[in-house]
Amino acid sequence: MEEGFSRKEQLAGGFLLVLIIFTVVTLLVIAQAKGWFQTQNTYRIKFRQGYNLLQGSLVKMFNTEIGKVALLSITQTTERPQVEVIIKVNAEYANLIRQDSVAEVVSPTLIGSEYVEISPGTSGYPRIEPHGDIPSRERKSVTEHLAELASEDNIKKVKEMLEHLAKFSEDLKNDEKILQSALKNIDEVFLNLSEGKGTLGMLVMQKDLYNRVNQAVTQLDKFLVEAKILIVDLKPMAQNLGVFTKSINQEIEPLKAIVANIKAGSEELPDLMEAATGTARSAKDTMDAIKNNPLIRWTAPAGAKSQSIHVAPRTLP
């Protein structure tokens, strides 16, 4: 009696197994992408009407999808029937839904369908627990908007505005002459400008000036190009300068030492000079005293006497 599967059966079984594994992996990938595995919190919102919301309509915060409408139903428990909307919001955004958050149905301008917009709550308010009620704001209808627009207060404001407009129009009429003369003056100015009169006219209209400015700019361009070339040439020189400076610095070191020695020596120089001057002065005083002695004075040869110079005019022919 033969036991186990034949080779063909083994091949068919293996193929099926691979197919099943592939299907499962694909399903898992799709589920992950669809967010089927994401945990979601459920919240309830009550509106006076459904505003064309559907099951699966988007729930947004900051214009970003955070969940979907799960269920719509009409409740009759209160005096006035209400539409109860159950939404599912991704759990990661649950911390943004707080007591001061407000849900509102938003209609797109032209394309798309209605969705629920929830305003983010501030950190000071407690979070709304799952299955809790999110406060809602009713969307105003066109008639309500019109009624608001056509309120007595607004009509009064429009009336005042029209009155002001009428007054302004009257004032404008009075200032028309002044405006006309001003316009005339402006016309004249523009005429002068177009004829190239005056400094501004010359600046604007004279082609020669424009050409010269153009030439100057061209020359400036050339100069800049040359300057660029020069800078490139200067670079190696600057590098050489660096080497040169370095060698100078090296040479300066012994010089510094010499200067320091001289400085140290020079500190003693004033004392030395003072002593020498003092000695010379006392020697001179002694000599003067000896010279002043009558006996010496009589015998010593008469010295030169200081006198006013007479510039004798020995003029040459």
Binding site: P294, K305, S306, Q307, S308, I309, A312, P313, T315, L316
Partner: protein
Amino acid sequence: MWRRAPFLSRWARLGLALLLVGGCAAKADPFGQQVKRIDEISIAGEELFSRGELKRASRNFSRALTMSRSVDYIPGAAQQLNNLGAVALEEGDYPKARDYFTQAYDLNQERQQFAAASINQANLATVAVKQGESAAASQHLAAAEDAAWQSRSQPAMARVYLQWASFYLDQNDPASAQNFLTRAQPLCTTPELKGTLSHNQGRLALARGDSGQALEMFSRALTIDRSVLDRAAMAGDLFYLGQVYQTRGDLSQAWDNYVRAFDVYAGMGRKAQLAKCLQRLQEVNRQGRMGHSLERFEKLANPGPAPKPS
């Protein structure tokens, strides 16, 4: 027998005693000492001036002036102002020279230092002569004569008379020059004045065409001026000696004397006089066909580019 040792000993002791007494008699005189220092600086300045080192001389005179003013030594201040004027005159800055001489004259006149005031006026006359203002020069000389007369100083009078004589010789008026030289002669007692007298007598003789007399007078003046080492006067004497020899046709002697005059002026750095000497050397060289090289003289006279030989 004459005993030498006790004799010498006695005289030595007597000499020492006299020195001691003389030393004790000397009094401390700080002002006198300061004046002496000022005089020393001024004398050094005068020496530099006579050597033609005008910048250094000016420095000495300025220092002496500051020192004189700082101790209220007015005669010293007046003297230094005069000397600074002399430096300015040699440098050719005539307005500055006139200003200094006038300041010096005012100080001397205030303090009735007439001899010094006479020198100031004589110097002002020299400034006027250099500027070609003969009338102003004669006015200053008249003022100098007045001051010299008031000073009753013979050398002061002689100095003014000699300058009058020189002035008239410049004006080609030998008679007036002769008159002043005659008046000056008995008053010239110092070597400086005797040298100037002989020099002017030589010029007078030259003006009268008496080259023999002129030669004698200039030679005498040169001897006297050399004895007192008055370089400017010596150079003047040598130049005129050269001129006398040139007039007499002795061009070789003329060349020698002009060269000597040139060298003395070169030592003093007198550019204007060097140019005149060079001109005479060129003349003599050409007249005598001597063929001497003038390169050395031209280099010294014109430190810039050498002039082309004419």
